[in-house]
């Protein structure tokens, strides 16, 4: 008896010693944000995770900033202008300091771009800026960016393109820069990172905008949304993201928290497989669009947190044409079209989705399709394997797929049209599902000019074309819904960013 009591207590002590747990009290000037996870690295150029971007924007500045009205605003660049179709000039802000005291200048800007463009570094953001051919230092406060062809999305891409300190990164190396010593010019500087637990930042006194209102900023990783909600109710965290519609009423009236919600660049759609029956027929695709009662789903299932759209191009994006009107809900018309298409007795199809948060919505869509005769079997997948199933293996997930597209926070029609409908091999979803005559050419035309009025005309044409051809069931744009502690004043942004420089102490 004594023997194994001793044995187990020794084992216990070994384990205790191996995992020290310091006590830590939360100070009042601390802002705590819950994220579902942390990115693999703090290096802003070496990942493409939303959770990492949300952190990085608070530690690093880019050349441009987007204000709460979603307009471009000077940041590290004070002004910019195109010198030609393929060359832009940026004037840099003077006297900006990195967290380690070094001065930021044109060489750092050049280095930052070259770092991502260096294919050996395998930056996942390479594709975003690969149109940039060269960054030329004109003088310490001026750079020229030269693209290999007209690149209308350049300014959009520069809103999240963090500038890193050349000398520092070269000294410490990429590995340390991403884990223990990230240095930027942003409002907060790095303190510590406990993986899967928390990332602690501290206000940077010498930031060119002035000090942020909160001295400490903590990003906690809490995978479970139910746990996040419990945390905000008890004051353990101050901001949580992606609050679902069913929780909203409860948090709206909570003594500790409030809700802030805004439409974002995330559009919901059901991509239709145009390669095979029955969605190879235009009439069937149109019938599917008439069959879904979007307004009812938005009101009854999404708590009103959605806005119906005519196509996948959203009102917030450049190129949106308000003249293109949504398909109304018209089940009778849907049945007629289906009969005209040669399916008077209906047809059986399968739809796929990995969009777990919206499972009930997915099932409602399938049910509505079934009611008009497009008898739809819903198949729900785990997100990981689904990616493989939908986007590889020759896109075998016929006949349709319900999902959403977030535009990478790029406010331009191209950011949704190219991935969803362009059929080139490098494309995303479109290469498997969409087959609209002439659409590839129009999308290419839209992305290869910096003449904005001309681009606008092209996108109007595209929206009319896809509304008619209906390569997807066009649904709605999503809202981003934050729950925020009453001790903090902040509002959700249309680009889903958490720009916490704007956060102020509450009443």
């Amino acid at each position: 008896m004594k023997k194994w009591a001793l044995l187990s207590s020794v084992l216990f002590l070994i384990v205790l010693g191996a995992a020290p747990i310091p006590a830590h009290a939360q100070a009042k000037d601390t802002l705590v944000v819950a994220l579902t996870s942390h990115a693999p690295t703090l290096d802003p150029h070496m990942h493409f995770e939303r959770v990492g971007i949300l952190l990085n924007i608070n530690m690093f500045d880019s050349l441009l900033h987007r204000n709460t009205k979603l307009e471009f605003e000077p940041s590290l660049a004070t002004s910019w202008k195109p010198l030609s179709d393929t060359q832009w000039e940026f004037k840099l802000r003077k006297g900006v300091r990195f967290h380690n005291g070094e001065t930021m200048g044109a060489e750092d800007v050049k280095y930052s771009f070259e770092r991502v463009l260096d294919q050996a570094k395998k930056s996942p953001q390479y594709g975003n800026i690969r149109a940039i051919k060269e960054v030329r230092v004109v003088n310490p406060d001026t750079v020229h960016i030269i693209t290999d062809k007209p690149f209308p999305l350049l300014l959009e891409r520069l809103v999240f393109f963090p500038i890193v300190p050349k000398k520092h990164v070269e000294t410490v190396g990429d590995q340390a820069f991403g884990t223990t010593s990230p240095v930027g010019t942003g409002p907060w500087k790095f303190v510590e990172w406990k993986r899967d637990q928390l990332i602690r930042l501290e206000a940077f006194d010498q930031h060119w905008r002035g000090r942020p209102a909160f001295k400490h900023l903590v990003f906690r990783a809490i995978p479970e949304i139910a746990t996040q909600i419990a945390e905000i109710k008890t004051g353990g965290v101050d901001i949580i993201r992606n609050v679902s519609a069913d929780i909203v009423p409860e948090l709206k009236t909570h003594p500790q928290a409030y809700i802030s919600s805004t439409p974002i660049l995330r559009v919901h759609y059901a991509e239709l497989d145009m390669r095979s029956a029955p969605f190879d027929k235009k009439l069937v695709r149109q019938a599917a669009n008439y069959a879904v009662d979007k307004q009812t789903i938005i009101q009854k299932m999404m708590g009103g947190l959605g806005r119906q759209v005519a196509t996948t191009v959203q009102p917030l994006a450049f190129g949106f044409d308000p003249e293109v009107k949504p398909y109304p809900y018209d089940p009778k018309k849907a049945k007629e079209l289906l009969a005209q298409a040669g399916y008077p007795n209906g047809v059986d199809v399968t739809f796929h989705s990995a969009f777990i948060e919206f499972r009930p919505v997915f099932e409602a869509i399938c049910q509505m399709l079934t009611e008009v005769g497009i008898r739809t079997t819903p198949r729900m997948w785990d997100p990981g394997p689904a990616w493989n199933k939908f986007l590889q293996a020759e896109g075998k997930a016929t006949n349709g797929m319900y999902g959403s597209w977030g535009n990478y926070s790029v406010f331009d029609a191209d950011a949704v049209l190219h991935p969803l409908y362009h059929t080139e091999p490098g494309g995303w979803i479109g290469k498997w599902y969409a087959r609209v005559e002439g659409l590839d050419r129009l999308i290419d035309e839209g992305r290869s000019s910096v003449d904005q009025p001309k681009r606008k005309r092209v996108y109007s044409q595209i929206q009319q074309l896809i509304r008619e051809e209906a390569p997807s069931i066009f649904l709605w744009t999503q809202y981003d819904t934050l729950a925020i502690s009453k001790k903090v004043q902040y509002a959700a942004r249309g680009d889903e960013w958490l720009w916490l420089y704007d956060a102020k102490p509450g009443r």
């Binding site: 084992l11 993986r195 906690r220 139910a226 419990a230």
Partner: protein, 304 residues
């Protein structure tokens, strides 16, 4: 006794071979590993990678290579973290072990006294009550228990933090959650093995000699009843470890379980393989240790 130990060691090795086979299979039953790694690359690039990673070799050759790498602790690089997988897993192991050991300790603290009392007062209200609670505990999923405990102790009563790993208080709820998972079986084992010994001759003799009831139960009866408890506690340790995977996600505990869950979502196979193998290894070793302890504690086995 030596043959007994030898036999256990052979069994240990067979189980480990099985575990490595299953771990190896994880990658290959999940689809084409190369298209998982490079979802957007042209087929030509994938072919190059397939060749360079040796996926074109016969499965047996690949398995041999896997075992050889495994023996050197090389599970490859995490796709997501871009770092070697094994150190990532090992760095999180102490947290998970601490949680599991705490939960097992808590389980024993609850199960032993209640189990004894249930046996001593067989068929009393207390006994029936304990049986009911056991039944309840067995039927609740860990996930649900966790969230209910959060709602009660953190949101309503506000006595404990909701989640995290920054203070000792934060350990209580996850440990309790895990304990509700492993306690019921232990409690039943204590109760039934106590019942087995409590009416044996030597206990009756002790009583007849005038030894106090308390001493009879704790010294004479419990020591003998503890043998099955050791075995079952070993098995329960493995179960608790698997329960920790979900518990860690609910309570945002930065352990191996959460790492594995995240890796499954991201199809990060090196992490899944390293994680599964390390956890399985620990379970196997714990059970081996329990077997040894059992042999050591039980004179009958030693004589035979």
């Amino acid at each position: 006794m030596l043959t007994l130990v030898a036999r256990r060691i052979v069994r240990l090795l067979v189980v480990l071979a099985g575990v490595s086979l299953v771990t190896f299979a994880i990658l290959h039953v999940s689809g084409d590993p190369v298209s998982l790694m490079m979802p957007e690359a042209p087929e030509a690039d994938r072919a190059v990678l397939r060749q360079s990673m040796g996926f074109n070799d016969a499965l047996a050759v690949q398995f041999g290579r896997f075992v050889w790498n495994l023996a050197r602790g090389d599970f490859g690089h995490s796709f997501f973290h871009r770092e070697p997988a094994l150190p990532l897993v090992l760095a999180r192991m102490p947290t998970t072990l601490l949680l599991t050991v705490l939960a097992m300790g808590l389980s024993l603290l609850i199960a032993v006294p209640i189990g004894i009392l249930s046996a001593v007062r067989r068929n009393s209200v207390f006994d029936h009550g304990a049986t009911f609670v056991v039944f309840l505990g067995t039927s609740m999923p860990v996930f649900w228990t966790g969230i209910m405990l959060i709602l009660l102790f953190a949101v309503q009563l506000r006595v404990l933090p909701v989640s995290g790993w920054e203070s000792w208080a934060a350990l209580v709820l996850p440990a309790l959650t895990l304990a509700t998972f492993s306690t019921p079986l232990l409690l039943r084992i204590v109760r039934s093995s106590m019942l087995d010994v409590i009416n044996l001759d030597y206990v009756r003799t002790a009583r007849a000699k005038g030894v106090s009831e308390w001493l009879v139960i704790c010294h004479h009866a419990l020591v003998n009843a503890a043998l099955p408890l050791v075995t079952v506690a070993g098995l329960q340790f493995g179960l608790a470890l698997s329960g920790a995977i979900i518990t860690e996600t609910v309570f945002a505990v930065p352990g191996v379980g959460r790492l594995i869950v995240g890796a499954i979502r991201q199809l990060d196979f090196p992490i899944v393989q390293a994680g599964v193998f390390v956890v399985a290894l620990i379970v196997v070793l714990v059970n081996f240790a329990v077997d040894m302890l059992y042999i050591y504690l039980n004179p009958q086995i030693r004589v035979r």
